[in-house]
């Protein structure tokens, strides 16, 4: 099975080398999607001869990930794994994410902070928000997903194809969790440890958290109402 690790990266000059070196050490194919970074991320990647796709406009996490999925589809990859460029996700755990897909148990595997409750758990306010999203997910689809906003995900070929074609620009993780479940794809959660961001600030913080939550909830309700696929 050909596995590609997609590393979306926006202004991660302080973290990108550590993240990529870890991936190279494990011997995985990878590609960095530089989402129009304003810092030296791209230069660092080019200097080190990393595999990088440079987006000339900042497309946001959804547009960046979709670029990675399109690259995976065009180059015949069977599994695509998302690892954020900020060092939050552990490359050692990628194997855990791929295994259920290899065994044909599901189409998507989510690395979840809230199964073993180990590692960085994020702020209380965010956890409450994530729990609310989980509750909505369960209500709308019957499927329980504890870590609705986790970006640490692996998908199989059928979803690579689907996401290359359609992938939400904003809040892609919770939105696609509900969308693909409703379409009959199978999602499995496995425990994963996450690190606190090593350098820099997360792109979702403060008052934006509330706005983020309202937006996601609104989108989930829309999907439920319109039966959007």
């Amino acid at each position: 099975m050909k596995v590609l690790i997609i590393v979306p990266c926006y202004n991660e000059e302080k973290n990108i080398e550590r993240t990529i070196e870890g991936i190279i050490e494990k011997g995985y194919d990878y590609v960095i999607i530089d989402d129009g970074s304003k810092d030296a991320s791209l230069e660092i990647a080019r200097k080190n001869n990393y595999q990088v796709i440079h987006l000339s406009n900042n497309l946001g996490i959804g547009g960046a990930m979709q670029t990675g999925y399109r690259y995976a589809a065009r180059n015949g990859y069977d599994v695509a794994v998302q690892i954020d460029g900020d060092g939050q996700h552990n490359v050692e755990e990628v194997e855990k994410l791929i295994q259920p897909i290899r065994d044909g148990l599901c189409n998507m595997v989510i690395g979840s902070r809230f199964i073993d409750n180990k590692g960085f758990q994020s702020s209380t306010m965010r956890r409450v928000g994530i729990r609310l999203l989980s509750w909505l997910m369960k209500l709308f689809s019957g499927q329980e997903i504890l870590d609705m906003t986790s970006g640490f995900r692996a998908i199989d070929k059928s979803l690579i194809r689907r996401f290359s074609d359609r992938y939400p620009s904003e809040y892609p993780e919770p939105v696609t969790n509900l969308q693909v479940t409703k379409l009959g794809y199978k999602i499995k959660e496995v425990p994963a440890m996450m690190n606190e961001r090593q350098q820099g600030r997360s792109s979702i913080f403060g008052i934006k958290n509330v706005y983020y939550m309202l937006n996601v909830i609104f989108q989930l309700i829309l999907i439920q109402l319109s039966g959007e696929n």
């Binding site: 440079h54 497309l59 547009g63 670029t67």
Partner: protein, 120 residues
């Protein structure tokens, strides 16, 4: 409506019409997008000369004065144009997203081909 007001509205409408046509001629405004505005002007010009008809329409909708009806119609029309603009923006965002992605993927392919060319 006084003759003076009628002439005033007609003059403004005509100036606006000329302005639209000039923009179409210089390709600043597409024919498709100009159509809505030209229809609006045609409606204004036609209705200016027929006050009794306007009064009847206002009466039909239960609106007391013609001016109120015109304000309401103008408001509806602007809402419609605004919504149409938002739709266009969404469509264009999607196109820009696709273009940026395709450009990036092509650039990557070009770099990869160049590298393998050098290795050979």
């Amino acid at each position: 409506m006084s003759i003076r007001l009628t002439l005033f509205i007609l003059c403004i409408s005509l100036i606006f019409l000329i302005y639209i046509l000039r923009n179409v001629k210089t390709h600043t405004l597409s024919v498709r997008n100009s159509l809505l505005w030209i229809i609006l002007l045609a409606v204004i010009i036609l209705s200016v000369g027929s006050l009794p008809l306007l009064e009847r329409i206002a009466h039909f909708f239960g609106i007391e004065t013609v001016s109120n009806m015109l304000f309401f119609a103008g408001f509806l029309f602007l809402m419609f144009i605004c919504f149409d603009c938002t739709k266009t923006i969404s469509r264009q965002n999607e196109k820009i997203l696709r273009l940026t992605q395709e450009l990036a993927l092509l650039e990557k392919k070009y770099e990869d081909d160049e590298k393998t060319g050098l290795e050979k």
